[in-house]
């Protein structure tokens, strides 16, 4: 290379360097906020919703990028509290819960209307729930409605067994095998009704509970026996139980129908939902998009095309104006909405993009008013962290590692305990500016919950445990080589900060135990498949976000041996404790039982709790009514643009104040 060419190269490198410095200097000038912070001229919120939604049919998808939009377009019986994410009244003005939380009566407001002006009645909710459970709908979240009586059976396409001789259905209780369920008291919703007033706690205003009906009586009869429809699956169950096999001879199989599901419109504005099991957390699920009310005629008329802008009828504070695919969705305030005068934004533009750096650029340039959770890249925290428009609050979400308890060295509880104990989670949390997760539920998200604590950091004890488990040399001292020889590994997907976390954990084990555990990186969908099949050696990474605001959302991961439980650990005692907790009427007693179950889980250590999620989002100071809440889902009707600078947020908005319930 000649002299001049090399000089040019130096020059151009310098030029790029200058560019970067110039950029940084520009951001350093506005030391209080990140980039421009002038409010937009119109009352239009510009937000990002994530990647292109699969559909804006609220019952089909299960991710937040769709939820953010569905929250604007549809409303349910209850809405998320903008600060705490707990259920607050929406289309239901109030509700009553029976004494063991197995039946709920919702009283609807009389002025609820769809975007085409049709009134919203209890019948629309009955339709919505049945439709979501219909197998052909293909809802990813249908299992949310499984606590409702016969909902799961209907969604699975199961059958009842009818005996023509006695003109009655076979009952579940007659065939219950000797498991923990048999000793449990029967929920009120499956017992004959003596007096409806007895089943509900006395109301202060002396209101009379909703009327009894034939359907209600039917729901309150003992639960019917449910069998799979497919002959192959049924045979498996029948083969396992000779008693059952004998009983079904000469009986008819009757498919479970939509009308068997325990939802009932008592009148136009009263909705009753009967559950198969007590579920005190059920109210917390009501704001979920699965339960947001849909317009029957539109769906029946247009089929899958009902969500097209030309056809769609919605129920929320905003209605669809346009959907430019992969670009933006625009919603405008719906004048038909019952509380339209309290909806402050004229429009919301949801940009359909999911690239964090792009979002941050748009935000900085003043083209976005806020971003969603985890959009601030970890590497930027040093710059963004001190700014007044950076919102970092704990989320109802956890990061943890699974152990494969079915095979390999981690089948031994001592190894699991040791690997957990030798990890300094406080150091991890300090390094990533997050809160350590000490149990299976995030700390401080559920007020009053007596959360148990996992084992503290103690690498000496960890070494002793590992030596006890057989990984020792001739003198009986822990020998790292022996553990390494088992080919134990840590698998993770590369998304977000997962790799730095894994490297930190790896370094901790090396430093505190002397063990080198290999990290294997897998693309997300490949990892999920390996997790579901328990196809990994040792340790794997998972995260979980709350579906509703109750500790049970996290504890229920281990209610079944399958599903999101990727550890192979399952204990009937744990399930019995959870069941008992959910039957318990006293709130504090229920929390204690849940905490007992959580302690049992921590003792068995099928997981390594790592950290509590944090919101890590940006919000312009003039944007009000928008909070970094635990679910990071914002009900849009409360959001507005504040033009008076004196009322702006210089820092995190106050989260503890009672919520502003619009129109209430």
């Amino acid at each position: 290379m000649s002299y001049s060419a090399s000089r040019l190269r130096t020059l151009s490198i310098t030029l790029i360097g200058c560019l970067i410095v110039a950029g940084c200097a520009a951001s350093a000038k506005n030391s209080v906020f990140f980039g421009k912070s002038d409010p937009p001229r119109e009352n239009i919120l510009r937000y990002v919703s994530g990647s292109e939604p699969e559909t804006i049919d609220p019952q089909i998808p299960n991710l937040q990028n769709e939820a953010r939009i569905c929250l604007a377009l549809y409303e349910g019986l209850a809405e998320y509290d903008p600060k705490t994410s707990e259920a607050i009244p929406a289309l239901a003005e109030r509700w009553e819960v029976n004494k063991d939380s197995s039946e709920f009566v919702f009283y609807l407001r009389h002025d609820g209307r769809f975007s085409n002006g049709d009134p919203i009645t209890a019948r629309d909710f009955v339709y919505t729930i049945r439709r979501g459970l219909t197998p052909a709908t293909g809802s990813r979240t249908a299992s949310f409605a499984y606590p409702i009586k016969y909902a799961q059976a209907f969604n699975e396409g199961d059958v009842f067994v009818f005996d023509p001789a006695t003109n009655a259905f076979l009952l579940e209780k007659d065939f219950a095998e000797g498991n923990s369920q048999t000793s449990a008291p029967v929920p009120l919703s499956s017992l004959p009704i003596k007096s409806i007033a007895d089943e509900y706690p006395a109301s202060a205003e002396g209101k009379v509970p909703a009327a009894d009906t034939a359907f209600h009586q039917l729901m309150h009869s003992p639960a019917r026996l449910v069998l799979p429809k497919s002959e192959k699956d049924r045979k498996k169950i029948l083969d396992a139980s000779p008693k059952l096999n004998a009983a079904i001879a000469g009986k008819q199989f009757v498919p479970v129908k939509a009308s068997d599901v325990g939802v009932e419109a008592i009148d136009d504005y009263t909705l009753r939902i009967s559950l198969s099991q007590p579920a005190p957390y059920f109210i917390g699920m009501m704001p979920h998009q699965f339960f947001r009310v849909l317009h029957q005629k539109t769906i029946e008329k247009f089929g899958a095309a009902w969500t097209d802008a030309a056809n769609i009828v919605t129920s929320g504070p905003f209605k669809l104006e346009s959907w430019q695919h992969y670009d933006r969705i625009v919603v405008t305030r719906d004048p038909m909405y019952w509380d339209a005068r309290n909806v402050k934004l004229d429009k919301i533009i949801f940009y359909l993009l999911a690239e964090n750096t792009t979002m941050m650029s748009l935000y900085k340039a003043g083209e976005l008013d806020a971003t969603y959770n985890h959009t601030v890249p970890s590497a930027w925290l040093d710059v963004i962290g001190p700014l007044k428009d950076f919102m970092d609050a704990p989320e109802a979400a956890i990061d943890y590692y699974n152990f494969n308890t079915a095979k390999g060295p981690t089948a031994d509880v001592r190894v699991r305990k040791a690997l957990n104990m030798s990890l300094d989670k406080k150091a991890l949390a300090d390094w990533r500016h997050v809160k350590p997760l000490t149990a299976m539920t995030p700390d401080g998200i559920f007020p009053g919950y007596p959360q148990p604590k996992g084992d503290p950091f103690d690498s000496e004890k960890a070494k002793r445990l590992l030596a006890d488990a057989g990984y020792h040399d001739a003198s009986g001292k822990f020998d790292p080589k022996k553990l390494e020889a088992t080919e134990i590994e840590l698998i993770t997907n590369p998304d977000g900060s997962n790799i730095p976390y894994a490297e930190f954990v790896q370094a901790q084990w090396k430093q505190n135990l002397g063990v080198t555990i290999q990290i294997r990186i897998m693309e997300s969908k490949t990892l999920f498949k390996a997790l579901a099949a328990l196809d990994y050696k040792g340790v794997s990474r998972t995260g979980y976000g709350a579906d509703y605001m109750d500790p049970y959302t996290f504890l229920s991961i281990f209610y079944t041996p399958t599903g999101s439980n990727s550890t192979g650990w399952w204990d009937p005692k744990y399930v019995a404790l959870l069941d008992e907790a959910n039957r318990t009427i006293d709130h504090q007693r229920r929390y204690q039982l849940l905490a007992q179950a959580e302690q049992l889980l921590l003792d068995a250590q099928p997981v390594i709790p790592l950290v509590v999620g944090t919101t890590r989002l940006m919000k312009k100071p003039y944007l009000k009514g928008f909070y970094p809440n635990p679910t990071t889902l914002n009900p849009w009707k409360f959001v507005y643009i504040e033009r008076d600078q004196a009322k702006w947020d210089y820092g995190m908005p106050v989260m503890s104040e009672p919520p502003a319930v619009a129109g209430g």
Partner: protein, 306 residues
């Protein structure tokens, strides 16, 4: 000539068949599904989904359906995007990618040919080194670095252009993505032009042209460019195809609703019909553009006959 074209068009069919089959097999082999996520679905929910989308059928039935769809140029419905057909999505993404691709193409041709010609006219001068150094930079800086750098300078410091988002064609929002996309092509074209021109400038017919007493400008524009641009032409055909279809990274950085953005998401989503649709479309465009380039040779270079 006609026979040549017909032969090439016929070859497209088996090529497409192989490409589609390979893609289909790769999607089939990839673990996970369009619905699989961190939270596992309830077994019944998963079963209902598989039935709804025909995933419960044996592989040869699914494969047969794919082939039948391709034969009718109808790629079926997207799995991920409820109620949207792949053809609809293609037609929606294509104009954006074409607008972006052609803008970048024009920038690349204009800047590349100018830089290359200037460099070739005064070889080993400062101008030559400067343009070739710039070209080298264009080749070595990947566009996922160049894009954010341009955003940093032009949108976050100078506030001249928006940092992302699509606002139609033509618009200011197209400038940065097109510039980012064209950088590497400017570089290639500049280098190709330079070497092509250097070679031509030394050839006999240029000497003849000069001997005729033509001005240097006429020599360059009338005679030298025609021959000197031949390598550029053969490069620019496929380049146009790649510019239109290979906008994946740029569309993602600048959040543009084009084919590239759809494609990358389709892969992450395991959206089989959409992946196959886009791959088939890209394959056909590359094959057709190559054919067009071969045909155009005959017009540019009188020495080539089919």
């Amino acid at each position: 000539m006609l026979r040549f074209i017909i032969r090439r068009v016929i070859v497209i069919v088996p090529m497409l068949f192989i490409i589609v089959s390979l893609t289909w097999a790769l999607v089939l082999l990839a673990p996970g599904n369009f619905y699989s996520g961190e939270k596992k679905l309830a077994p019944a929910v998963e079963k209902n989904l598989r039935e709804k989308y025909g995933l419960d059928k044996p592989w040869y039935v699914q494969y047969g359906k794919v082939l039948k769809n391709i034969a009718r140029f109808d790629f079926g419905n997207s799995l991920k995007y409820e109620g949207q057909s792949v053809n609809q999505i293609l037609m929606r993404g294509l104009p954006v990618s074409v607008a972006l691709g052609i803008t970048a193409y024009l920038i690349a041709l204009l800047a590349g040919v100018t830089m290359g010609t200037l460099a070739a006219l005064k070889p080993n001068s400062l101008l030559d080194y400067a343009s070739m150094a710039l070209a080298m930079l264009g080749i070595s800086i990947p566009n996922f670095v160049l894009g954010p750098l341009l955003v940093l300078l032009f949108s976050l410091t100078l506030f001249w252009f928006p940092p992302a988002l699509w606002s139609g064609f033509p618009s200011k929002s197209l400038v940065l993505p097109a510039l980012t996309l064209s950088a590497i092509y400017i570089a290639y074209i500049a280098r190709l032009t330079r070497s092509g021109m250097l070679e031509v400038m030394r050839s006999d017919y240029i000497r003849t042209a000069r001997a005729k007493g033509l001005s240097e400008r006429q020599v360059v524009t009338r005679h030298a460019l025609r021959g000197g641009l031949l390598p550029v032409v053969s490069f620019s055909g496929p380049a146009l195809a790649f510019l239109i279809t290979g906008t994946v990274v740029v569309e993602r950085i600048f959040a543009l609703p084009g084919l590239g953005n759809y494609f990358i998401n389709a892969c992450f989503n395991r959206d089989e019909p959409l992946i196959i649709g886009i791959v088939a479309f890209i394959a056909v465009s590359v094959l057709v553009f190559n054919l067009l380039v071969d045909i155009s040779y005959a017009f540019i270079d009188p020495r080539i006959r089919y």
